[in-house]
């Protein structure tokens, strides 16, 4: 691949900072320190060999799995692009010499700084364009699902919706409060604070008269709520959604998911401060709201994609579903068993449980029962409030 021919001459430092800007624009966290280190690294490798430079910059600029995987593409888009700068059409010597070399780098090193106009080059084929369009997926989905917003309106409870939402928010706030108070009250891990004791014992001639203690503060739990929004849950979905929104609040340690036949993460949408926009975003995501249910498959998606990041020993997973499933019941059991093995607590809220004479005989519910720490009803707002106590106990 030929290297990019930039329109204007710029110093290598300018190019490099432009490259970090290019990375930033594509979601890689890189800044001044990375630019500086990159320039330093160029001294350590053969700057004429694009492959070496790629490896070196990758080591410095990538900082997590995601950026590590995308880096090659971003690198090629910036440096290894046959520049499509119209004004610079005349073939220069640069172009004809070594195809695989880093013409810009080696030539620019000594060049005087001109006006820094190096910018992300226009991709000249579909392949390169991919890097440019990352992060835009949601918007496209928007257009396609906008029409389905009508479905959302259908299950909104008309008059007391506002009241229900408010109550749910209050309950959620109460749970959060309990959560943080629990940390203060924790008595586990009590031990002597030797450092302080010694300090104090100096005044009493080496007799440790005052014993200071220390305790390990309990950290707040990570709440993950997974809400069933399939057809059978229609009546409750709106209230639960408010409930989940209340849980999420501005707390970074909570995450929320919706599922019907597939799973989606709605944490960001719910965290949106603009309530109206949040509802809009959700309704766009809720394509297929009120359709069939695949609990097992959705939980498996959660296990494979999110669990490693979210589910640990300090996680409480709240699943809100009636357990009516069109998928395989065995799969639900397996997925929960796997989730459970990560050490998290699982709470299952079932609106049907509050009904008279309800027994959890639905196949999926029965398969799930052995893995659930707390199985509670949630058909009324009162019963939702009651799980507050359960959360405290866990």
């Amino acid at each position: 691949m030929a290297v990019t021919r930039f329109l204007t001459r710029a110093s290598i430092a300018e190019r490099m900072s432009d490259f970090t800007r290019h990375l930033r624009a594509h979601g890689v966290r890189a800044g001044m320190p990375e630019t500086e280190s990159s320039l330093g690294a160029l001294q350590l490798v053969d700057a004429g060999d694009s492959n070496e430079v790629r490896l070196a910059l990758k080591a410095i600029c990538a900082s997590d799995v995601d950026s590590f995987a995308r880096f090659d593409e971003l690198f090629s888009a910036y440096w290894l692009n046959t520049g499509k700068q119209r004004h610079d059409r005349t073939p220069t010597q640069n172009r004809s010499t070594q195809k695989n070399s880093f013409t810009n780098l080696s030539h620019m090193s000594g060049a005087p700084p001109a006006d820094a106009a190096g910018r992300i080059t226009t991709p000249d084929n579909n392949n390169d364009g991919e890097a440019e369009s990352s992060g835009e997926g949601k918007l496209i989905a928007t257009q396609a699902t906008n029409r389905n917003a009508a479905d959302m309106r259908e299950f909104m409870l008309p008059e007391d919706e506002a009241r229900a939402a408010e109550t749910a928010r209050r309950i959620a706030a109460a749970i959060r409060y309990r959560r943080s108070r629990r940390r203060k009250a924790a008595r586990r891990g009590d031990g002597l604070h030797m450092r302080r004791i010694i300090r104090k014992s100096v005044t009493t001639g080496g007799e440790p008269l005052q014993l200071s203690r220390r305790r390990r503060p309990d950290r707040p739990v990570h709440l993950v709520s997974i809400l069933d929004v399939s057809g059978s849950m229609k009546l409750y979905a709106r209230v639960f959604l408010s409930f989940v929104k209340g849980l999420i609040g501005n707390d970074q340690r909570t995450d929320a998911f919706l599922f019907h036949t597939s799973l989606m993460c709605v944490s960001d949408a719910l965290r949106d401060n603009d309530t109206l926009r949040a509802v809009n975003r959700l309704s766009m995501m809720a394509r297929g709201f009120g359709g069939g249910t695949k609990i097992g498959a959705s939980l498996r998606t959660f296990n494979s994609q999110y669990a490693s990041r979210m589910a640990g020993r300090k996680t409480v997973v709240i699943i809100m579903s009636d357990g009516y499933d069109t998928g395989d019941a065995q799969e639900v059991g397996d997925a929960l068993a796997r989730l459970k093995r990560r050490g998290c607590k699982i709470i299952w809220l079932n609106p049907l449980l509050g009904w008279k004479d309800y027994a959890p005989v639905a196949a999926s519910m029965a398969a799930a029962l052995p893995y659930i720490n707390c199985f509670a009803p949630c058909n009324t707002l009162d019963s939702l409030a009651a799980i507050e106590g359960e959360l405290q106990r866990l």
């Binding site: 280190s37 690294a41 490798v45 900082s63 997590d64 799995v65 014992s201 001639g205 490693s308």
Partner: protein, 303 residues
Amino acid sequence: MNWQNLQTKLAGEGYIAPPELAMALHIALELERPILLEGDAGVGKTQIAKTLADIYDTELIRLQCYEGLDASAAIYEWNYQRQLLSIRAMAERDGERDGEHDGNRGTVIDDIETRIFSADYLLERPLLRAIRQEKPPVLLIDEIDRADEEFEAYLLEILSDFQVTIPEMGTIIASSKPIVVLTANGTRDLSDALRRRCIYNFVPYPDRTTELAILRARCPSVEPALAAQIVSFVQNLRKEDLEKKPGIAETLDWAAALGGLGVNDITADPVALQASLVCLLKTEADQAAIPGAVAQRLAGKAG
């Protein structure tokens, strides 16, 4: 030393590093920055630190992280018993002389304090020890994601400035900058502050040729034909839906086990094959997921 040299040296110690890893190590060493290695368990992250220590013929100081790890276990701790003894000894001695002049009790206490909070009473833990060595050691901070998030904050000072601040004593600056290797399994997300101080590399499962080279380097006694079979089998096994995919360590174990069983062809003896799979499949569910027939099919493909 350029990065190809480093790669060759690593290979000389039996570590086959892909170019990306070798380059990241080279940059980290040259810029004197810590290197953060992420990847699944068993891909050889910890081994890199050991190999580096071998190459530079230096000490490997290892800090194994766990939940609840705190500064007193990782950085330094005061020797409380000695401090107590010392305070009492000084107090008694003063008590004998104290009859004549008792106006200077304040200065006595100051004396005791400066004395018991001096280097003599300090117990070194791995991090402090790493920066007080004569010869730069390799400091391995293993499975950093197991430690609490708060612990990362302790590390920042050491990783960026190579110094430790002790409130009672002041700042201890590194006498030699250690080569710092951090590993993480992805049990939780690491803070950006930590990531930004490190050179990053994601260590993947090795591809077929790399794994074959590793096997050849680590288990030279395995026949080439069997080695090829082993590597193909493991590579195929990783494509199955397993809870815990076998890493390189498992491959090497398995190769050794097959050698011990006297197996020369994994397709030849289904019973021995199935029995030896305990080296590769480490959970009950995984063992159930690969019954004899599946193992045979994978072995057939491998052969």
